[in-house]
């Protein structure tokens, strides 16, 4: 073990900042990161053991105990439940004779829940030893578990491969793209390298000018003007600069980056190269979520090809002195790492805790150097902006939101998938497009976004009205909005907080318990006021976007579906807490003393 671990540490030059990679390699080699491994890593990096453990224990896919020869991570997003997740989970438990969150007695199969894996268009889905199994049925679960009992390898159990590049032998994936609508930016015809060849004829200032002229705003959700971000970074003091691409799409319900990574990886890398040229960076990092680990070999091959074609490496496209290269950094399961400063921390091998601002990443980012972080989709759009000019791009969309947007649409609709639309599309038109006219509610921009009712279906998707990072979840009449959706989203935030800010660590659970009280029929009207007031504190008090939006599922449904809440309160006149159960409260002491109170 010592030899193997030392070799891994050497591979990353005993660099503490590469702790994530070291841990990922150790976990891949041994199936767990044991106490002995922690000691060896700490020794090798000359840090304390608790510093290694703090990173391990932060990420959901790292484990200090064995999670079985076969490890099954079943998605528990709200849409997975809509698509029959409960039956699939039950079948897994029955077939394995083991509960979720544990490993079978013989140590062979581990069953674990996991947050949205970016497959909402093909749920229920699971990741088994890194391989995605979409559209699970009870019979295929039985086949999988039988295969495991026979000792088959996971690839042997695979079914039909997916469409497009998914069947490329390096991807070898059963995932389907479900590209339902292509638009005029991302999915327009493009010859690889065109933008880079044009780029090297421009000055960095001209590049930034073109991006500014396009009026493109960050497509990850926050909507910060990209040209301005690059400008700030290029002006910040620093001897080195970095370009980071955020491919951590963890917002439940989004899967558009999955499709871009599969079908248009060249655009991502070209976009990063353009950003590097504009700000003067030599190194780039694609931060990719662990859930998409199956793309590793494929994406590495795309990078290799770009190096061969001189679109990466030294003197790119013949431009003397333009040197830039990209490495892929995998995450290990943490939604909060989609927050840009948490992503940087993670790239540096630390816990994914968002940083305080100022300073901003453009001033002090990766390794405290000026850093540009853009979303996958933003960087891809930039390629087309350089190809066709900023003005071309700015003509599309709305007044304040130029261009197109990829929507990941899932839930109760006929045609879930990825749609490239111009900004400004009406919710009603979108529902018609996807066969979701019967919607009871629409969750715009995932759990951190807002939940709207019919009265808002006339509204439009754009930054001046309903902003969206791309996740659209359609909720049908048959759903219990509070139980099936709001509670699921709150559970998600309870698990995914980094735990640093007091309100974000503490309040989501308190709020969820309050919802449960209402669902149990013990609510009173003042509970609704409490829910509202306490939720507002989340927005006011927390450091990062996760904490500030974590109560949005409650706030937006209280606003738009108040009648659903009021219907849970049986007696609206009562103003005292009806939730106290005396029998339950004294049960433990009754058991301890062996007698029951005479009530």
């Amino acid at each position: 073990m010592r030899t193997i671990i030392n070799k891994i540490i050497e591979k990353f030059n005993r660099n503490e900042a590469r702790l994530m990679d070291i841990l990922l390699d150790v976990q891949a080699e041994f199936g767990l990161i044991s106490g002995d491994a922690v000691t060896l890593i700490a020794e090798g990096l000359n840090i304390s053991s608790v510093d290694v453990q703090q990173t391990i224990s932060f990420y959901h896919f790292f484990s200090q105990k064995s999670r079985g020869k076969y490890t099954i991570y079943l998605n528990d997003s709200a849409v997975a439940y809509m698509m029959g997740r409960a039956d699939i989970a039950r079948t897994f438990e029955e077939e394995c004779k083991c509960k979720f969150g544990s490993v079978t007695e013989d140590g062979q199969i581990g069953l674990f829940n996991t947050a949205c894996i970016g497959m909402n268009d093909q749920e229920p889905a699971a990741i088994i030893n890194g391989i995605v199994f979409p559209k699970l049925t009870e019979s295929c679960v039985k086949d999988i578990v039988n295969g495991m009992k026979e000792g088959k390898s996971v690839p042997e159990m695979m079914g039909e491969l997916g469409d497009g590049e998914n069947s490329n032998k390096l991807l070898n994936s059963m995932v389907n793209n479900n590209i339902m609508k292509t638009g005029s930016v991302l999915f327009s015809d493009y010859k690889n390298g065109t933008a880079i060849n044009k780029l090297v004829t421009m000055t960095p200032k001209e590049v930034i000018g073109e991006v500014k002229a396009s009026h493109i705003r960050g497509l990850g959700g926050a909507g910060f003007p990209t040209g301005m971000k690059w400008d700030f970074c290029s002006m910040a003091e620093g001897d080195e600069r970095f370009v980071l691409c955020n491919a951590d799409e963890g917002e439940p319900g989004t899967f558009k980056d999955r499709v871009i990574l599969t079908e248009l990886p060249n655009l991502i890398f070209e976009g990063m190269t353009i950003a590097a040229y504009a700000i003067g960076a030599k190194e780039g990092i694609l931060y990719l979520r662990q859930e998409y680990h199956y793309m590793k070999a494929y994406l590495e091959s795309v990078l290799d090809k770009l190096r061969e074609e001189n679109y990466l490496g030294k003197d790119i496209a013949g431009k003397i002195g333009f040197n830039f290269d990209i490495r892929i950094q995998f995450g290990a399961g943490a939604y909060v790492c989609g927050e840009e400063s948490a992503l940087i921390e993670s790239c540096e091998g630390k816990r994914g805790e968002p940083r305080n601002r100022p300073p901003f990443p453009v001033q002090k980012g990766y390794l405290q150097k000026p850093t540009v972080i853009n979303n996958v989709e933003t960087l891809c759009s930039v390629v087309k902006i350089i190809e066709n000019g900023g003005e071309w791009f700015s003509m599309m969309g709305t007044k304040e939101t130029a261009g197109t947007k990829l929507l990941s649409i899932s839930g109760d609709c006929k045609y879930p998938g990825v749609y490239e639309v111009e900004w400004g599309i009406r919710i009603r038109d979108m529902l018609e497009m996807v066969g979701g006219e019967e919607a009871y509610a629409v969750q715009v921009s995932g759990p951190s976004g807002i939940c709207i009712s019919k009265k808002d279906f006339k509204r439009t998707i754009c930054f001046e009205d309903l902003p969206s990072g791309g996740s659209i979840i359609i909720i049908g009449k048959e759903r219990n909005l509070i139980k099936d959706i709001v509670c699921n989203f709150m559970d998600f935030f309870i698990d995914e907080s980094c735990g640093s800010c007091v309100p974000c660590r503490s309040l989501p659970l308190i709020l969820k318990n309050k919802l449960q009280k209402l669902l149990d029929g013990n609510g009173v009207m003042s509970d609704l006021t409490d829910l509202e007031n306490w939720s507002k504190n989340m927005k006011a008090a927390n450091r990062c976007g996760l904490g500030q939006t974590a109560a949005n599922p409650i706030l937006s449904t209280l606003k738009n579906f108040r009648e659903d809440y009021e219907a849970l309160i049986k007696n609206k006149e009562k103003d005292f807490d009806t939730g106290f159960n005396l029998d339950a409260a004294v049960a433990a002491s009754c058991e301890a003393v062996g007698r029951n109170p005479q009530i």
Binding site: S48, N356, C498, V502, P508, R543
Partner: protein, 242 residues
């Protein structure tokens, strides 16, 4: 002398060194902004969120935001005081705080803040979590019932090579502090005392030592938290060259 700038807190004129954080500058100007995770000489964390102030209508933590010239900071306004009280209440319900039996009573900053904010019964239901006490190291014991996860110990207690004695473990609601067993085995009495003094509550305590000072005569028994702050700015008009 470093460059001085003027700013205001709740309308009161203050001066700060350029680049200084608001909280630090406020204290030097004799103004108390409540906090728990901040500590003089230690890199601010901005995690307890108590020092939230309003700048241009936006909430920012005073411990991590540098003062800018002409900045107008709002601090003691009802909205923020209410937010601070609710955070103190959250800390009480997420842990198990039994002040009468705690060695830190009277020297505890959380207890002192609860008094200052006149907290009676928290608005949130108590969680009564089950927490482990770690007494495995020779010099210290860690009572996680009382830990408020402020990270002061993580940031302040290092060995001569910069290695951390303390670190966070797990995340979200389950986050807890842990002490490095190997390093703790050779911890000096001085460092153990420093660790205990760093902790604002009674989560890090020295072994074989306690109740040196009787309850009733301790720091916050005599004086409410934040009332002992004295301005070190001598003459506000003299120091700033207009």
């Amino acid at each position: 002398m470093s460059e001085k700038i003027k700013f205001t807190i709740d309308g009161k004129e203050c001066i700060a060194k350029k680049g200084q954080y608001i909280l630090e500058a406020a204290l030097e100007n004799g103004i108390y902004i409540p906090f728990l995770c901040n500590m003089k000489g230690v890199k601010p964390a901005g995690s307890c969120r108590l020092c939230n102030v309003k700048i241009n209508g936006r909430n920012m933590t005073a411990c991590t935001t540098p003062v800018a010239a002409g900045m107008e900071v709002e601090s003691e306004i009802p909205e923020l005081q209410e937010l601070r009280l609710s955070i103190i209440e959250m800390l009480f319900v997420e842990g198990n705080h039994f002040c009468p039996s705690c060695e830190k009573s009277g020297n505890c900053e959380l207890q002192a803040l609860a008094y200052k904010f006149q907290m009676l019964v928290p608005r949130f239901p108590y969680e009564f979590p089950i927490k482990e006490v770690d007494a495995s190291s020779p010099k210290l014991y860690i009572d996680r019932n009382r830990c408020i996860k402020c990270k002061r110990c993580i940031r302040n207690i290092k060995d001569e090579n910069g290695k951390s004695y303390f670190a966070f473990y797990k995340r979200a609601h389950d986050v807890e502090i842990c002490l490095d067993k190997e390093l703790a085995a050779t911890m000096s009495d001085e460092l153990a005392q420093k660790a205990m003094d760093t902790c604002p509550v009674g989560a890090i305590l020295r072994k074989e030592k306690g109740f040196d000072q009787p309850i009733g005569t301790r720091k916050f028994d005599k004086q409410a938290i934040g009332t002992d702050i004295i301005s070190v700015v001598e003459n506000i008009n003299m120091e700033v060259k207009e």
